[in-house]
């Protein structure tokens, strides 16, 4: 039996209805959205509209035209960071457990536009004290960027408290929800979120190739891409209305059809129940791993403080070696190394070797955990 524990990278397997919908679209519809008035195109436009409405419902957005489809979470984060008009001397606050899709565009702006970046240090379990953010705010602070949960150790950050701070200081607040959308319920208004970026291919169970950015009303960004939108074609200027402003070029319609079904699937299960299921499985994983000698677990080890991600190391063994043996000899897929987040590994003390990351998904079982723990016991010897 092949076992997949790399769901933080992308979820696998996807529900049958996801790839059935993609196949149906490719085989029977095929047309582009928003470009023509023939029935196939109208079908496609409706599909995109309904998917947007469904996503809006998921995050509590009242106006679904503020949901933008991107290629992935990385593009949504880049659009926010590069598009919000940061100038020389502007000050940005972020955490020490961000993904490279946040750190790299920030580093680019630091060098090219001389913006100032403050990286708030989380403790070795990834926990962050919101008052550390508050104390760094200056008159020049324009932007606070935080991931909702770490993709290395799963620690959930207090976005509610941070959003409150950002809101009361009139600072733009961007949340990277790549690791939480679809596996824990949250609301954009309650958390004062101005911009929310996420992938469609993780816990939303869609295929690769679709991500999203929610942009609160009143926030104006510059597009990353300019081009055809199917609207106002007689004008040479890029439209200023959403969603067209940020969706130049052909959308990934097979991907959107799959994502729509993935979201329907989790809505039917209800996210609150998914969270419970993941809590139970995470608890089981942490308990079982804790019993293995010579095994170090990173992070909070508390299911209520984290998502279904556990990073570990085996005493004296290279993470890459452990990953290889798990794959080759036990048919268990995990991710090893730095997980696109060297900052996090510096924070938890595992840079530059990294860790072995076990990330749970909706379709993992306790039997999978049994098999993993047996394998790890054998590897440690």
């Amino acid at each position: 039996m092949s076992i997949y524990f790399d769901n933080a990278s992308t979820s696998y397997p996807k529900p049958e209805c996801v790839f059935e919908a993609m196949k149906y679209y490719c085989k029977n519809i095929g047309a582009n959205a928003g470009r023509s008035a023939h029935r196939r195109s109208v079908y496609a436009s409706k599909l995109v509209f309904e998917t947007r409405e469904s996503i809006a419902g998921l995050i509590g957005a009242k106006d679904s035209s503020r949901i933008i489809f991107t290629q992935n979470a990385t593009e949504a984060l880049n659009l926010s960071i590069l598009g919000c008009g940061l100038k020389r001397g502007d000050h940005i606050i972020t955490s020490s457990i961000e993904h490279n899709s946040v750190m790299r565009p920030l580093k680019f702006l630091e060098k090219e536009r001389k913006i100032l970046v403050d990286i708030i240090k989380c403790d070795k379990n990834g926990l962050l004290d919101p008052s550390d953010i508050k104390s760094k705010i200056t008159k020049k602070t324009k932007f606070i960027i935080i991931n909702h949960a770490s993709n290395v150790i799963g620690t959930v950050l207090p976005i509610g408290a941070i959003g409150q701070i950002a809101h009361s200081h009139n600072i733009l607040f961007l949340v990277d929800a790549a690791q939480t959308i679809g596996c824990m319920p949250f609301d954009i208004d309650e958390n004062h979120i101005d911009l929310l970026a996420f992938s469609g291919h993780k816990a939303l169970l869609g295929p690769q190739g679709v991500g999203c950015l929610y942009i609160r009303e009143g926030i104006d960004l510059n597009p990353l891409k300019f081009g055809g939108t199917g609207s106002y074609s007689e004008f040479e200027m890029q439209p200023d209305f959403l969603p067209d402003r940020f969706e130049s070029g052909t959308l990934n319609l097979p991907g959107i059809s799959g994502l729509k079904k993935g979201i329907e699937f989790i809505k039917e299960k209800r996210i609150i129940n998914i969270q419970k299921q993941m809590h139970a499985l995470t608890d089981e994983l942490i308990n079982r791993l804790s019993k293995i000698e010579k095994l170090i677990i990173y992070g909070t080890r508390d299911k209520t403080l984290q998502t279904g991600i556990v990073s570990l190391n085996l005493n004296g063994k290279e993470p890459s070696e452990v990953g290889k043996v798990l794959d080759n000899e036990y048919d268990i897929a995990v991710r090893v190394g730095l997980h696109c987040s060297p900052q996090t590994h510096k924070t938890i003390g595992t840079f530059p070797k990294g860790t072995v990351r076990i990330s749970l998904g909706l379709f993992n079982t306790t039997e999978h955990i049994d098999r993993l723990c047996e394998a790890l016991c054998q590897i440690t010897g």
Binding site: S41, V42, E234
Partner: protein
Amino acid sequence: MSDHWIIIFESVHFVMKAEKVLKEHGIDVNLVPTPRQISSDCGVALEVFEKKQNKIKNILQENALVPDGLYRKERNEYIIKN
């Protein structure tokens, strides 16, 4: 007898939204190609059959939908009404 209306929006997103909310109010509405006399764009417009213009306007307004153009079809002409 109902009047024959054509409504266009900036983005196809709002055409779809307007179709949904008007239908929910039991109004007879179809998606049609935007008539060339109205716009040179190749997009989709809403065709609505309804006696009272205000009824349409109110539903759109309640849903924060702002038409780019609301036209009444009179024989072969489209008369702007918004």
